[in-house]
Amino acid sequence: MSEHPAESGKKVYLQYAKILAVLATLTVTMIFIGESPLAQAPKVFLLLLGSGTKAMLIIFYFMHLRFEHKGLVLTVLVGIFVTSVLMFLVPAYDGGYILEHSLYK
């Protein structure tokens, strides 16, 4: 079986609190990015970058994936992220068609 940190107590809770602080900081940063006068494309890119970083912190530290078998890590990352990116690519590829044939014009 994979090994997980068995120690408990204030020291471990504080270590996780540091991750929480990073997540909170990233959230605030993303709000500033969201409300900034940046163009839509770089804004979306930065927000996805921030979300991806937060997701990695949650998956690897809170969900303990960093302690798991390499095969499981690959399965989860490929299963979720690569497939999600592929799902985003299809409408991105067809974006021009969607805009041309927009129902709401």
């Binding site: 929480l20 409300e35 998956i59 095969g71 979720i80 999600s84 799902m87």
Partner: protein
Amino acid sequence: MSDSQAAPAAGSLFGEGSLPFDIGWQKLMMWIFIITDALLFAGLLVSYGVVRVASPVWPDQSVAFDMNYITLMTFTLIASSWSMVCAVSASNAGNKKHVSTFLWLTIFGGVSFLGMQVYEWSHFIHEGARLTSNPWGVPQFSASFFVITGFHGMHVTTGVIILLIVAIRSAKGKATAMGIENAGLYWHFVDLVWVFVFALFYLV
């Protein structure tokens, strides 16, 4: 059966007794569920992306929503994820008192998030938003909001129910470390989904 046809040795790739990915079946099933559920949310967010691209105008979210309030909701969910990971850590170390404390803290966070979501929904509906129309002019805006946040809220509700069962079982000394860890995996997943909902729906 001859000796040569005996079952494969334990630990071999397809032999009995070997564990795929070195984890128990319960945890493996939870990870597989998380992957499939994540793809479901990815599908919803991609659909939302298509609607956004296809719509020439989109309402300014800061006009429709109180962003400070949404930020508070986000912090509540992230903080409950922290208390959950502490509960799992305490469970692995056999510290039952801490397990109970952190589990109830997580439940409190989940219920608070749900309460805030109910208020947000009622406020949104009170302003005239419906599934097929809203005062901001783009019907897909409120439809996306209700479907995406509703689906996520349903997951949070399920998570709170699971955590309540685990907390009660833990108090009775019936909860296993694996059960608490699996409940934790689900709860973190709920938090993980909100990270993308928050960024793509409220901030983009």
